[in-house]
Symmetry: C2
Subunit: 233 residues, 2 copies
DNA sequence: TCATTAATGTCGAAT
DNA sequence: ATTCGACGTTAATGA
């Protein structure tokens, strides 16, 4: 990893065109030739480029130029204030727990946590517009389409699960499926919109799932209102 | 900006739980107290925390702890190999060109690039659910709702433009509007779904727009099937 | 390689 | 404070 602090000017052309006027910034060139231009605030770099094998990187005393296909990042180093090169070695990698996958797997193992008597038909059931998180059936054999969101579910999630219901309606085995949205929390507008569309909202946190608790029905099921009806009140 | 290179171990708990085993990494603490833990590859930090006023940050010789609400980032510094503190000063900011705004403005100036004879009624036409990029009319006075996407348009874009048509239907002047999606490219599923919803997909690149060329109609206009209704088969 | 979806997405603007 | 949509989104996964 090469760390340069410099008074610099940056041009990027590629997916768009940007210009960064002359100022002092930190520039990082990583072992995999990733280049970052960082300001003193925020998460995101001002400019960057992640290079692959076909890309080129030239580091000169007063200039750094990275090229990747039609994209180019040019850093003009007007004055270098510091320069440190160091070896970081291997990265063991980040271990994560609590992602959507964990929720989905936990729910697949205990679908009755979503609705009493619910049983799983298939996880990641493939459709022409993408996989359904959980395809299930109720006690009385009604098909249920479950979309799982780890974080607070938004309106898009409602639309996503409705799309699946519509596509499923082509298959007589799964016609008139009930859409269900499971999330750790819901935005108010999401619940409202789900209500209009007849989408069931079930709130269950990862902790509850781990403890084996059942989800709380946030909104009672109304009739499914068809694929896309959107009436304003 | 404080840059520390250290043999470290990191724990994050909050939106999820992560653990980063002991290894050598670069740690950056910015002027706004943003903390980044960086590996020697890729664009994204391994761990990070962007703090606000209510958050706390403690920097000790062998430990950095950032707390923000229920989130906590703890960096254990087993061995500090380098430590540099420096002033970067003010950031003039990044100037950008070629974003969605440019496409929208170019299309507003030449709506006939979307469809022959199309004329603009209003750009950013306000509705209760957000502004319509371009509200237009055809030669025979049919209202047209245009949603512009700079990048490859996804299924959400289809739904977005359909929502606008539905809301517009309350206004007799713009009832039965034709939804149109303009983008530099379309994902295959998007075209398929747009077809079902009666949404016209028009592909125009920024380069074409700059050159004044007309858009290529990617998908022939079918009848708009109502807000969400679409027929299968 | 391409297409699709999740993400501690981040970020900024408008309500 | 919350919602919403854009982003050079990035990154990972499956076909």
């Amino acid at each position: 990893m090469l760390i340069i602090v410099a008074d610099c000017e940056v041009n990027y052309t590629g997916r768009l065109t940007t210009y960064l006027p002359r100022a002092r910034r930190a520039i990082i060139v990583k072992a995999d030739r990733t280049v970052l231009v960082m300001a003193d605030r925020g998460h995101q770099p001002l400019n960057w480029m992640v290079l692959d094998k076909r890309s080129s990187l030239h580091i000169e005393p007063d200039r750094i130029v990275a090229t990747k296909g039609k994209e180019q990042l040019e850093i003009m180093l007007h004055q270098v204030l510091a320069r440190h090169e160091l070896e970081l070695g291997a990265e063991p990698g980040l271990a994560k727990a609590g992602e959507e996958l964990e929720m989905q797997q936990s729910l697949a193992a205990r679908p009755e946590a979503i609705l009493p008597g619910l049983r799983l038909i298939q996880r990641e059931y493939a459709t022409s517009i993408g996989p359904i998180d959980l395809l299930c059936r109720t006690l009385d054999d009604q098909a249920v389409v479950v979309e799982v969101k780890r974080t607070a579910a938004g309106i898009e999630a409602v639309e996503q699960v409705c799309r699946y219901v519509t596509v499923l309606s082509e298959d007589s085995r799964f016609a008139h499926a009930q859409p269900v949205l499971v999330a750790q929390s819901f935005r108010p507008q999401t619940v409202q919109y789900a209500q209009r569309r007849g989408v069931l909202c079930v709130q269950i946190t990862l902790e509850q799932l781990r403890q084996g608790a059942e989800g709380e029905l946030r909104y009672p099921a109304g009739p499914y209102c068809g694929p896309g009806l959107f009436e304003l009140g």
